[in-house]
């Protein structure tokens, strides 16, 4: 009986058999590595948690900056000049002025906010309704909200600002450009800081995984020695540790994603309430699919690199004696 079977074995191995053998070997190594992580739940969870937090931190910062960018993008189009007119300007004069200004090529539109409308709005929004009723006269001036054309440059905006201020009816002109520009600069700095922080944290993950793998190698030193003694190549000995790194990275990445999503979920409500207060149609941006995969990919990549470095470094020292 055995003779029949061994004659089968003498035939050249078929390609599919070899491929599926390769697949089976890798799968079993991967499962075994997962099993080792599972059998030490506390230590493994610590490692995974550290990786997750380390990944979640820059990811969360990124989401914050991303939302800030999207808000400020809507401000870019709404760089309005509020021209407060002198209180003695009549509504008729104001209407005429609005007409004249809106004729200009460098102006997109002019909206007139009369003193009465302004007072009504203020009464509704401020909550000072009754106190305002005590006033004999309306203290608010008529206002022109001037939206410059998109074609304006920074210089022409400056000139426009000056011109509007020099109008005889104008009391003063308020522009928010400076503030927006500063905000953009801050965002740019934040973005770069996040990138730098993420790089440092990435190195930290390499160290964490490397250290975990180093401990694992130490614990399995005897096994490595024996397998090398009976002909295991470095690649063979390294493989289970690479899978360990892979699992740490993958689970860490998934947990990081979970943390970020939970954080966003917890923030979504107050954020939309804040947006409501500013009367803005603001959509809270979460992580998109690409970014989610990037986080997981970073986890897996760092896991593999960290374990590869550790395994290669420490394995070389373990030679049979």
């Amino acid at each position: 009986m055995t003779d029949v079977r061994s004659s089968e074995a003498l035939q050249p191995p078929q390609r599919t058999g070899r491929l599926s053998g390769w697949f089976v070997r890798h799968t079993s190594t991967a499962i075994a590595a997962l099993g080792r992580i599972w059998r030490q739940p506390f230590a493994s969870l610590m490692t995974i948690l550290v990786i997750a937090v380390t990944l979640a931190l820059p990811a969360a910062m990124h989401v914050v900056v991303k939302n800030a960018r999207s808000i400020s993008a809507s401000w870019d189009n709404a760089l309005d000049f509020s021209v407060y007119l002198k209180t003695n300007t009549s509504l008729e004069q104001t209407t005429r002025l609005a007409d004249i200004i809106s004729q200009r090529a460098d102006i997109e539109s002019v909206r007139l906010v009369s003193a009465e409308v302004a007072l009504t709005e203020f009464r509704e929004q401020s909550g000072f309704g009754e106190a305002l009723d005590q006033l004999q006269v309306n203290p608010l001036p008529h206002t022109l909200v001037v939206r410059p054309a998109a074609s304006n440059t920074e210089v022409s905006m400056g000139l426009l600002n000056e011109e509007l201020g020099n109008l005889p009816e104008a009391d003063f002109v308020q522009v928010d450009t400076e503030w927006v520009r500063r905000f953009h600069a801050i965002l740019a700095i934040l973005e770069r800081a996040i990138l730098m922080g993420a790089t440092l944290l990435g190195i930290a993950i390499l160290v964490i995984i490397g250290n975990t793998i180093r401990l694992e190698i130490q614990n399995r030193r005897e096994e490595i020695e024996v397998t090398k003694l009976i002909g295991a190549s470095n690649a063979f000995v390294r493989r289970p540790f690479l899978y360990s790194g892979f699992w740490y990275g993958l689970t860490g990445g998934l947990l990081a994603l979970l943390l970020v999503y939970y954080g966003l979920y917890a923030l979504a409500d107050p954020a939309s309430r804040l947006a409501g207060l500013y009367d803005s149609a603001f959509d809270f941006l979460a992580l998109d699919i690409g970014e989610s995969f990037l986080i997981i990919g970073c986890g897996v990549g760092l896991g593999l690199i960290g374990s590869w470095i550790a395994a290669t470094r420490h394995m070389r020292r373990i030679e049979p004696r």
Binding site: T2, R5, A9, P13, G17, R18, S20, G21, W22, V24, R25, E222, E223, V226, T227, K228, L229, I230, G231, A232, S233, N234, F236, E319, P320, R321
Partner: protein, 239 residues
């Protein structure tokens, strides 16, 4: 199969384990290396397994000068040699079957074929019924037989064993030696380091006695004369 030519092995610290040793083991032979501890038995086997490299001289195994085997190619080289150790060197976190299958797993042999070979190897050491047990639950003699099964599972042409009966009582030792004998009968070359001279005499195999890293004097004469005879025989055959 094995040719050791004028091999010297110096360990750091000046201790010389082998001094100008020359010997030869032919294909199909079963040869014992004897000698006191420190005579160089283990060193000789380590040189063949490429765990150590000779300080000088040549170690030729199956026609290949081991000097030409680079670090990267050592694993493939070792896979062609079966090795048995005094302390078994089993992996205690996995059952007998997995231990014996390890060389096949390393060689990348498919699961079904591996299972068949493992069972065949276990059958040869009469441990077929223990494949699911963990090594710790086995007796020392059984553990050694697991080690032997692992050494022969990929059917090597050469098997080297370092004190395989060192920890076994006489009955178990004889059992192990009988197993080796059976391999020899199917053509495996064996080189076994042992100090159990009584047992070796019982088996009636070739014997190389080492003393302080060289052949024992009286033995050397035997070996040399035998070597000369063999050379003459070869020359006559050639003519």
């Amino acid at each position: 199969m094995i040719r050791i030519e004028d091999v010297t092995k110096l360990y750091p610290g000046g201790h010389d384990a082998l001094r100008g040793l020359t010997l030869r083991v032919d294909t199909g032979e079963m040869v014992f290396v004897t000698g006191h501890s420190g005579a160089g038995k283990s060193t000789l086997l380590k040189l063949i397994a490429l765990i150590e490299r000779p300080t000088s001289g040549r170690v030729i195994v199956d026609g290949v000068n081991t000097r030409n085997i680079t670090r990267r190619r050592i694993p493939a080289y070792r896979r062609q040699i079966g090795m048995v150790f005094q302390d078994h060197k089993l992996l205690y976190d996995r059952p007998v079957f997995d231990n014996v299958a390890l060389p096949l797993v390393i060689a990348g042999i498919g699961h079904r074929e591996a299972a068949r070979k493992v069972r065949a190897a276990l059958d040869q050491v009469s441990l077929l019924n223990k494949e699911k047990q963990f090594p710790e639950t086995l007796s020392s003699g059984e553990q050694q037989r697991v080690g032997i099964a692992r050494a022969i599972v990929s059917r090597p042409k050469l098997l080297i064993a370092d004190e395989p009966t060192g920890n076994l009582d006489p009955d178990l030792s004889l059992e192990v030696m009988r197993i080796f004998r059976r391999f020899n009968e199917v053509g495996v070359t064996l080189l076994i380091a042992s100090h159990d001279i009584a047992l070796i005499d019982q088996l009636g195999c070739g014997r190389i006695a080492l003393e302080k890293g060289a052949l024992q004097i009286e033995q050397e004469e035997d070996v040399v004369s035998e070597y000369m005879e063999r050379l003459e025989a070869e020359q006559e055959g050639g003519l």
